[in-house]
């Protein structure tokens, strides 16, 4: 909200500078967003008198003026304004001044061969109004040579943001009251004129919607002249960012900006019959002042006459019944609308207006008569006319809230000691009534005050938040305790393990295009936004892979040849009860080259499924998963290469991770044409680490006897998974076999068709005694027998 310092001082007696005012506004909760000092903009513009005016020798429309600036010789100025003439006083922009309206710097120049030492300015050029038909004409007694800013009384403009809980300060008057309470000056209570009517109001005014419009006051003023509003009012409106329109419109705007009180003036000639606040009827329409037509419904309160709707109550007036320059008789409306209704209607219609902003936050219910009197007074003084009696339909809320307060709360909640007298003074200055036993009666305009904490805020805010001293939180006795949950600890560990393995952590959007989300959802329901910012950000990700693949694609497009990206974040699913099921996940994408071409290694090596497997197993191990017990099984999903992907499972059903090469069709969907391997680890599926204070590990002493190794080579059917054979071998003699490692795989010459040769190194650990030849033979037989169950034959 913008207002000039001059306007503020109309309500506040203070010598404070604009900077002091701004500092205090910040201190009491009105954030200053900007200070605009027109005196700076008007530097170099002075009050000047035209001494002579003669036609320009080379141009019909120009004149050559000599202008007295009060200093030194008169200046010669070329001017194109039709109203420039000898003897008039106006505003001269001297060389060096910058024209506010267009930022042009004035220079000494020749215009059609005649030297010009500045420019006589129009209102528009100085941003003082719209007039550009001629140069500004100042009164005959204007002091020549005075800086124009000083003469004009141009006042600094302060732009503040008013929090939505303070509609009472959406007018300059309210701000003045708060500043005065904070000691910046003396509040000047506005003397509301008492204006009686000269005749009964000729229009019937009713409220048929007491819920939406509890009170509707009005009066008629006849025989007004709707010309321009006076300069002082225009100056204040312009400072507030409001364009002057006509006296009647300006007066209603002025009262809104001065007192935070919107009102409406109808052209009585355009109304027929009773003027009624009622609910709109379904299908009713209104052409509003913004020249848009709105379709209304029964939830909305409107002001209507016999012919139809003239006003979307509290939000925007109608185009047809607004005041124009021909308006002679006016109906003034000042009403109290129910804030929630205004908000709902405003949202439904998508209209933002100054009136809505104030009504939906809550105007002062005690200000209807005062507001109407102020409006009437201004109209009579500016436009003339004769007023009718006031008609009052309904009544605004009038029961003030009373809050039980305890002055000790300032200390308890606010952490600051404020003397009881000072607390009383502050509350009184803000118009609260405080009884001897601290029952605080809240002014009706303060809709935001609900309880004692709000009173604390008022007192502390005005007293000064800077007086709150820091007080240390009580500390835990001893060293700080660990605070991370098991999942948090695991995520942190995995993140650093992944980075230590050479992966770069990315943070990608939680939302994706719907088609990508569905492609990765494998039939699960996907969360889809009703109001996405774009179609590319519409569905919540059911997998971390699409976001990472898209990131890989962007990197490839920028010329990257090798990408190792990972992310730890959530996948989003719909729980059975309709709530959100968010599952912690680690995603990895390896794209392009695993190793670049090299002098020692030869050609570049692309990533393959085993690179993905290695990451999956290493990180699962870091997460504490029993990697030795995991089974490699199929069904990684349609997004993966069907022959080069797998899941890692703990038991047949619990899928801990999936990994492998991304399906070429999926890669094509992302328009990426380098090899991509991917891993997704489902952190929610990992067995929980046991917590509790048990740090001790299982007892262990390295065996005294050395382990021995034996090699076995088997012929197996070509389609037998090697892992099955290794598992069978390892399990053949659990007492002795501590490891089984596949070290060779071969098919072709020397191996029968349809078979392959698998060679396994078995590590045997003796216990108390070394193995005898018989022991070793027995173990070998067990290994061979166990392998034979899978159709494996020991090679001779």
């Amino acid at each position: 909200m913008k207002f000039s310092l001059e306007w503020l001082k109309y309500f506040l007696d203070t010598d404070a500078s604009v900077d002091e005012v701004a500092a205090k506004l910040n201190a009491i909760g009105f954030e200053v967003e900007d200070i605009d000092d027109p005196a700076q903009k008007l530097e170099g513009f002075v009050v000047a008198e035209v001494l002579t005016a003669t036609p320009h020798p080379q141009a019909d429309k120009l004149q050559v003026l000599t202008v007295d600036t009060g200093k030194g010789e008169p200046l010669q100025v070329v001017c194109g304004a039709p109203n420039a003439r000898a003897g008039m006083k106006g505003v001269l922009g001297m060389a060096g001044a910058v024209v506010p309206a267009n930022g042009m710097q004035l220079k000494k120049a020749e215009l059609r061969g005649v030297e010009s030492n500045g420019m006589m300015c129009s209102s528009r050029e100085l941003e003082l109004g719209d007039d550009h038909d001629g140069i500004i004409e100042l009164a005959g007694d204007a002091p020549v040579g005075t800086p124009f800013a000083e003469f004009h009384g141009a006042s600094p403009v302060i732009d503040i943001s008013v929090n939505p809980n303070r509609p009472d300060c959406m007018g300059v008057y309210g701000i003045a009251r708060d500043l005065a309470a904070a000691g910046l000056g003396t509040f000047k209570p506005f003397a509301v004129p008492a204006i009686g009517g000269d005749y009964p109001c000729p229009v019937e005014i009713r409220t048929d919607d007491p819920e939406g419009c509890p009170a509707f006051y009005g009066r008629v003023i006849r025989a007004v002249g709707n010309g321009q509003s006076p300069g002082w009012m225009q100056a204040r409106l312009i400072a507030a960012g409001q364009r002057p329109i006509s006296a009647l419109v300006d007066i209603t705007n002025y009262v809104m900006l001065a007192f935070g009180r919107p009102a409406h003036a109808y052209d009585l000639a355009k109304l027929n019959g009773a003027v009624v606040a009622r609910r709109a009827k379904a299908g009713e329409q209104v052409l509003a002042l913004n020249e848009k037509t709105y379709a209304l419904d029964e939830t909305m309160t409107v002001i209507a006459d016999d012919t139809g709707v003239h006003d979307i109550a509290g939000i925007m007036g109608g185009e047809h019944s607004g005041c124009s320059e021909n308006t002679s008789d006016v109906l003034l409306e000042i009403a109290y609308f129910e804030p929630e209704r205004i908000g709902a209607t405003g949202r439904a219609l998508g209209i933002a207006s100054d009136a809505r902003t104030r009504f939906e936050r809550g105007v002062d219910p005690a200000f209807l008569d005062d507001g109407l009197a102020i409006l009437t007074d201004l109209i009579l003084r500016i436009c003339g006319g004769t007023p009718s009696d006031v008609v009052r339909a309904g009544a605004p809320p009038s029961q003030p809230k009373v809050v039980s307060y305890d002055p000790a709360l300032c200390r308890k909640l606010g952490g600051v000691d404020i003397a009881e007298d000072e607390q009383r003074r502050i509350l009184a200055a803000l118009d609260f009534e405080v009884s001897p036993d601290w029952q605080v009666t809240v002014p009706l305009r303060r809709h935001d005050i609900e309880g004692a904490a709000d009173i604390v805020e008022e007192v502390v805010r005005i007293h000064g938040l800077d007086k709150v001293e820091s007080v240390a939180l009580p500390r835990h006795d001893g060293v700080a305790l660990p605070t991370a949950t098991a999942l948090q600890a695991m995520e942190r560990r995995l993140r650093r393990a992944a980075a230590a393995r050479g992966l770069n952590e990315a943070v990608t959007w939680s939302f994706l295009p719907v088609a990508d989300a569905e492609h990765f959802a494998a039939g699960a329901e996907v969360w889809t936004l009703a109001n996405p910012i774009s179609e590319d950000m519409k569905a919540m990700r059911p997998s971390l892979l699409p976001g990472l693949i898209a990131a890989a694609k962007r990197n490839v497009d920028r010329g990257a040849s090798s990408l190792r990206l990972f992310e730890i974040g959530r996948r989003y699913f719909v729980a059975d009860d309709g709530s959100s099921d968010e599952r912690p996940t680690l995603g990895i994408v390896l794209a392009g080259e695993k190793t670049p071409r090299g002098w020692a290694s030869g050609k570049a090596v692309p990533f393959d499924a085993f690179d993905a497997k290695a990451e999956a197993l290493a990180l699962l191990a870091e997460a504490g998963a029993p990697v030795d017990k995991l089974q490699v099984m199929g069904e990684a999903g349609d997004q993966f290469h069907p022959g080069q992907s797998a899941t890692l499972r703990l038991g047949p059903k619990t899928v801990l991770a999936r990994f492998g090469m991304v399906h070429p069709a999926t890669a094509r969907r992302f328009d990426i044409d380098v090899p991509i391997a991917a891993v997704e680890i489902f952190l929610d599926a990992l067995p929980a680490r046991k917590d509790g204070g048990a740090f001790a590990r299982a007892a262990y002493a390295p065996p005294a006897l050395q382990s021995v190794t034996r090699d076995f080579a088997f012929l197996v059917p070509e389609d037998l998974p090697a892992g099955d054979l290794v598992r069978a071998v390892r399990g053949a003699d659990k007492a002795s076999i501590v490891d089984a490692r596949l070290f060779d795989m071969f098919a072709g010459q020397g191996v029968p068709d349809g078979q392959k040769s698998l060679a396994i190194e078995v590590t045997l650990q003796p216990g108390e005694k070394s193995f005898t030849d018989e022991d070793l033979k027995a173990i070998s037989e067990k290994v061979t027998a166990s392998a034979a169950k899978l159709g494996a034959v020991l090679r001779g």
Binding site: G415, A480, L481, E505, T528
Partner: protein, 370 residues
Amino acid sequence: MNYDQLGHEAVARIAAAGDLDALESLRVEFLGKQGSVSALLKTLGGLTPEERKETGPKIHGLRESVSDALAARKADLEAAEMEARLATETIDLTLPAPDTPKGSIHPVSQVMDELAEIFADLGFAVATGPEIEDDWHNFTALNMPESHPARAMHDTFYFPEQAGAEKRMLLRTHTSPVQVRTMLERGAPLRIIAPGRVYRSDSDATHTPMFHQVEGLVIDRDIHLGHLKWTLETFLKAFFERDDIVLRLRPSYFPFTEPSVEVDVGFALETGPDGKARRVLGGSGDAPGHAWMELLGSGMVNARVIEFAGLDPSEWQGFAFGVGVDRLAMLKYGMDDLRAFFDGDVRWLRHYGFSAFDQPTLSGGVGARP
């Protein structure tokens, strides 16, 4: 027999042996079973004790000097051979070693870890909640009923209304719903921070539709604004590792706090090593060359919120604050474009990311210097 001369001759021939093979031949010639020195040794058996007493030491001396000479020459020849072999094994060590990929931690994660570390020292646990929230937790329980104007100011992403559902699902617009969830779950007293993703339907140079916040909440019996101020000062001093952090508290309005406090921090514009001006926190914003910047919103938890969260507001009170994690990262580590955080550009990730071993600790420091 002149044993000395024999010895000299043998030693001279051994010293002249050109290679290990020639040396071996000499060893056989002198000390082999049929060797000349071996033969002399055998003659000792046929001598009288007197002769043996005189000749014995001479023969043994001969054998010893030959044997020593053989060993010495062998060592020399072996050393020469190794030297010759090594000379052929020279490689160009200016050739590049195999690359090991360098991983990195995202600045958002790094800063969240730093926050967790600092607040753990102050006794705050890390709490979480769903990002897809219902309007009750995101708004109603935070004292923003359906018609509240502040709701409209949140630029909320909504999910379609479900027929018959009581609650409207949405993307949480702040981490504050975790306050309510944690109070409902754990009761009081309570000290938590809740970092996480939040969403606003807003996108321009300084806003992204997804960003990160950290919520702080303390609920106890006698917690007041002074504790809030101390906590924020202590946290920011620890986070930025500067003792001269100065805060300015301004009254503000949030429906879920009362009183509500906007917190500004003083900063100066300093020219960085790259020649660009950057904001450096520290000092009062009113000091010459300094200004204030808005940093975070906070306040005493509104009694209604405490009630909604199942606690008795006449018994429990406390403060809450919320601050942008990405913003903290930018202020501390100097990134200037929020959008780059979520692009996954590896060049950016490597430049602004952190080593796996930059794990913040209290003893090693919570900040990671370049």
